[in-house]
Symmetry: C2
Subunit: 348 residues, 2 copies
DNA sequence: TTGAAAGCGATACCAG
DNA sequence: CTGGTATCGCTTTCAA
């Protein structure tokens, strides 16, 4: 004989024991002897509704006793929106400068009551990753670097993102752009070296994958600075290892360069060391300039010249995100962040 | 006369136009002329159900046309679980070593089909933050550093986390522990300096907030190494700036130290530079040893001695997370990650 | 092979 | 002041 399973709606005969099941607002309601609606009102301090003080206390007590934590997904499903700002987690080793910036940005957005999540993306292609990001229905997406194309932006917006901001070398259709003009970093370096009388100029290009987005524009910037001059530019692949540095230094006299822009301060330190070990004088034989203005550079001897990059203030950027979220219809803004300035020390 | 609003369930008279609303599976179903169930079957390749090829194609076409992206929150709400592994985003400037490790871990967990989310926490207190993490109902939580207490762990578990792992100086009740034994880092350094004949030993303690979790154990390790010997230990507060370094160096002869463990390689570089600028010989007058074995140290002259820290392999750690998730009932494991070894170069 | 419907957890209407 | 209930988007039995 077939039997029928009868499920009593919303009221299991025995409350499921212990840590086996996660407490819900219904559990809190049951324990407090009120309805789920009341629980919701109390825990969210809904001002449109007055709940008596004894009831409030019972609800709070019940919630604490059960260790109740609201379910963010359920809440935002119901609400139709969240306050999640999504950023892809960097998948290349990223400098101290940048991680610091991320931290500050998180803090600043937190002040505005946003929650920042960094999503660990598998593939390097932004437009595919955009799909994974869109599944989380973030209210805003902040994408550093290149890789996100117009269709990625469109996908995110169709999925409810009220603002998409890119932080990178070029504008992307439909997104607010914070142009980090790495080309101008190279340009400043090239102009500086030229002004110092150098004419045969090398540019370090890191061999580590994932840095092309920065190294290419920097190289192009140097090229542009020296176009229509009597100076020449040589591209110098270099991995961040002593061996690679030594190999480059050995070839140095054959290269006949009198100056080098070393991509950043860390590569500059590596190169300076290996040049000095080869008996090549800095800045006498070869001038060296880095970028990023790390503490590191000030500690080297000779002190390292560098191109300092002014990152946008985290608070300003957070405010921009907030404005964009509040007014999604506004046309995408473009901000030029050209804070590249040469800090001339002793190595150039 | 009162009027009644009749809402036709699930079938708005006019499909909402354009990008105003986010397409749902119901929209896909309507466009493809099938039911929502069928859409779900097709898009998830449900093997228990056979769907005719023409239907599949219609569904896929409709999904693509609408730019449909499934709603992760709704899905995991229904499913009752997610594959999200949550980590707090570091809120202190963290070394290159560590960011590299995070990247690899994300990749390794991605291979196991987990999604890693770094949550930007506001307060530094882990137990309060735990509540915010719990709202996201992650399947596992991976917490570096100290700050998460037993009640934080309990809260996360009650909220459905099948595994909580801490990556830090000490065990936490209820969580799997990967003990990063910073005390032994200090111990190795102290023993090394003692063996090299040094007796008046300084230990740099960074003044930057947030690093105490690491600097305290390292200091204690040195103390332990030198207990019951004729050596003395002096605590040296130092901020990561040239001025702070210079101030410390000026006091140096008054301090009468013949060796120093400089917290890590970066602080060691700072200190070495300011000592040398004061005419204090390294290692002649004062031996210096750092930690972390950064490239940086090999490029200094004298080459920097250091304590190398073996981080666990990201793949192993990912596998551990996976095991813990699969078998939440298993008792918490404790893994000692004592990979601290002295790399003796020229500065000590 | 496809469709109808229940329900995951939380919120906000409306009625009592 | 409080409770019932529809709803968000999706998956998954159960029926047809």
């Amino acid at each position: 004989m077939p039997y029928v399973m009868v499920q009593i709606p919303n009221t299991p005969a025995v409350p499921p024991p212990g840590p086996l099941s996660v407490p819900t607002s219904a559990d809190v309601a049951r324990l407090a002897g009120v309805s789920r609606a009341t629980v919701s009102y109390v825990l969210n301090n809904t001002s449109a509704v007055r709940i008596s003080e004894p009831t409030r206390r019972r609800v709070h007590a019940a919630a604490k006793e059960l260790g109740y934590v609201p379910h963010a997904a359920a809440r935002s499903l119901r609400a139709g929106h969240s306050r999640m700002v999504l950023m892809p987690a960097p998948n290349v080793p990223v400098g101290a400068l940048y991680s610091q910036f991320i931290s500050e940005l998180q803090w600043a957005l937190g002040r505005l009551d946003y929650t920042v999540v960094q999503h660990g993306t598998v593939g390097p292609r932004g437009d595919e990753a955009a799909r994974a990001w869109a599944e989380l229905r973030p209210v805003a997406v902040l994408v550093p670097g290149a890789g996100l194309g117009p269709q990625g932006v469109a996908l995110l917006k169709r999925s409810g993102a009220r603002a998409v901001l890119t932080l990178g070398p070029e504008r992307v259709e439909g997104a607010h752009a914070l142009l980090m003009d790495h080309e101008s970093v190279g340009h400043r370096a090239g102009r500086h070296l030229y002004a110092r009388g150098r004419r045969r100029i090398g540019v370090v290009v890191p061999e580590e994958p994932g840095l092309e987005a920065y190294s290419r524009p920097r190289l192009e910037g140097v090229r542009r600075a020296l176009r229509d001059t009597d100076a020449t530019v040589a591209e110098l692949p270099l991995a961040y290892s002593e061996e690679s540095g030594a190999r480059l230094a050995e070839r140095w006299s054959a290269l006949g360069l009198d100056a080098v822009f070393a991509y950043n301060d860390e590569y500059a330190m590596l190169l300076m060391r290996t040049l000095q070990d080869q008996g090549i004088g800095v800045p006498g034989d070869t001038a060296v300039i880095g970028a990023d203005d790390l503490m590191l550079g000030r500690l080297l001897r000779p002190r390292l010249s560098t191109v300092r990059i002014e990152l946008p203030s985290a608070r300003d950027l957070a405010a921009l995100v907030d404005r964009a979220v509040r007014d999604p219809a506004a046309p995408p803004e473009t901000h030029e962040l050209l804070g590249a300035t040469v800090v001339h020390r002793d190595s150039s």
